[in-house]
Symmetry: none
Subunit: 200 residues, 4 copies
DNA sequence: TATGAATGAGTCTTCATTCAT
DNA sequence: AATGAATGAAGACTCATTCAT
């Protein structure tokens, strides 16, 4: 009864309108969460009418999904966007510590966005799928960085994935200060050693 | 003007009613998520009227929090409830593989519950706090298990925490089949080696 | 987060809708009282949906306040709307008796409205403020009427205010038949004499 | 279906229970208003169970009415309780000024009670009736005081009633500071003169 | 008599979505 | 293509009243 009425914008103006909505939606959802953002607010921030939203998107959920497809990876795995050059030809220890620092820095920037989107990852299958794609992309990227630095072993995919998890968890620990009794410097050393060991 | 009018049940009948609500709330939230569960449903499943809910709980959110305090840890860290005896005096490799298998088995049981609650962990600070307490508890428990098996090194807290993260991530990977291209047996080996290395 | 999202209607259609709600709200509140009127009824009488009410008004109380600002004075002090010409160049006695008769007539028309609104005056500070503004306006108006009829003395503001109270009380007495044992004709004479004396 | 199940307490304990409820109800209604007081609060303040309330009173409204019958006049017309001796054999001017001062003092004490009850007077017919009885009682009392001081004229009932109104309005004006631009000392003089004139 | 647990209809308010213009 | 007014179902929460004990 209208599913196919969703407009696929081709004209420049249309495309811009859709993008404005997408950007506004993403911004608000990241800031306040999906359930605490309503379509009126999205339309308002996008500077469009409430009605028009439903010409570009099937429903509110559709905004979430499309905005994640467009902007999600930069929050989920900010490293994805980072050029390999950042890690050029250092020793592994330095590469890892650089990486961890970048991760932490990036997470700090998009603190609430990350939180809100991770919430959706856990409760929404479509969101989860997008997240997991980013994860794969990230793993591939890192594998390439390692191999560019002559770090190559068997089962790289699995190893790198474990490494990514380690870094990710470490980073959350540091950013969210989850456990006050933890010594983060010690933890960083542990994680770096651990990854070096895995990739040996 | 009523804030403190929340009833602290003492009579047997009262206690049972509160527990019925708590159980029903937890069940539904785990199944369908917090935002997709309404108070009427909770009351209905608990076989009580909607009104009584608000004599035992400040609001809907309060049901979430209290139910997590009561039942949460069994979902967040099902291992918490497990006795140390399960791991008595094996070698570390065996202990770890036992642990991983138990983790995976437990997670499989409460698949959707875990998903929904992890969503809340990321979007709700109070839930996050409860989760992090469970995490600490889990870490302490494991530390004890290791030390009972004569595995003691410096910075145990941090090390065990990293180990817990590794196991947890691995377990999610396996249970949710997040990435079809991963070889899980390989991954388990990597994780076990990794932890053995950390604790050496 | 929405407080300021209350629509200030500019389009004709909008203005009409808001006015319909205002009118319906005022009507029902006057008839049945604020606490015995619910928003659904207001919407129904206004021939709009319940939702739209909250785009024009912050909450139910806001309807009360705005409707009073719009229609209130005609109930509180129906005389406010009356032109000075009604009392032109009679002697004071005639002016006062005309006034009292008009007052009584007007009160009889909006019997229940007056009752319900006076109730709110006593229990709601914002309503009280609106009422007191009307009172002042009324006093000023009367002062002007008196001075137009060459009735000027010291402390006119206070004197007129006392006179207004006298007329108002008299009028309530007559309209509400509060005390069956009172002889109203006698009372009118007393009040008229009294005011004449004050203004002498 | 139960109307006649309301208990008319005869035993001492019963009477006390009923009185406790009445007192608590009156207190809360005076403080917060009828609509903002609920039966649970009344029961709590009275130190009885919620259920028992309905054995002594038909419904919540009944508490209001009975409590007014018991305690109302002291709020409506605090002067009622005042002995004639307070005004013994002064000249009329002094008597009136004493009276006004007492009125004002009493009103200041039960400020919110008066406001809340006057609200009910205007919206509830039964309350209005009780109020008007107090008014009559007050008028009679004053008439007696005047005649004891040899002040007797025709139509005393009506005259005294007008005088009471004048004092009452003056008192409200002073206590509630309704109109900042009014000079209250002047107003008191006007009212006193006015009443003296009426009773001449 | 008394308790206080339980009821459930009723109320305000929100918001995704539709529709007239 | 666009607007923004309008819809109405749904949800959280309250409270006078009843009832099992």
């Amino acid at each position: 009864m209208g599913n196919s009425d969703i407009r696929k914008p081709v004209q420049k103006r249309s495309i811009e309108t859709k993008e404005k909505i997408l950007k506004a939606g993403f911004e608000l959802i990241c800031e306040k969460g999906y359930y605490n953002t309503n379509t009126a607010e999205i339309a308002k921030l996008a500077n469009v009418s409430t009605g028009i939203v439903y010409q570009y998107f099937k429903d509110k959920h559709d905004i979430l999904i499309e905005s994640l497809q467009t902007y999600g990876s930069s929050v989920f795995y900010p490293m994805i966007k980072i050029s390999e050059k950042d890690f050029e030809k250092y020793d592994l220890d330095t590469i890892l510590r650089n990486m961890i620092n970048k991760f932490i820095k990036n997470h700090k920037i998009s603190h609430s966005a990350h939180k809100e989107l991770m919430a959706m990852v856990h409760s929404d299958d479509e969101v989860a799928e997008i997240y997991h794609s980013s994860e794969i992309e990230m793993t591939d990227k890192l594998t390439k960085i390692f191999s560019d630095n002559d770090i190559v072993t068997e089962n790289m995919k699995e190893k790198v994935h474990v490494a990514v998890n380690l870094i990710d968890d470490l980073c959350h620990e540091v950013v969210y200060h989850k456990h006050s009794s933890m010594n983060y410097d010690v933890m960083i050393d542990i994680v770096v050693d651990c990854i070096k060991n895995i990739l040996k």
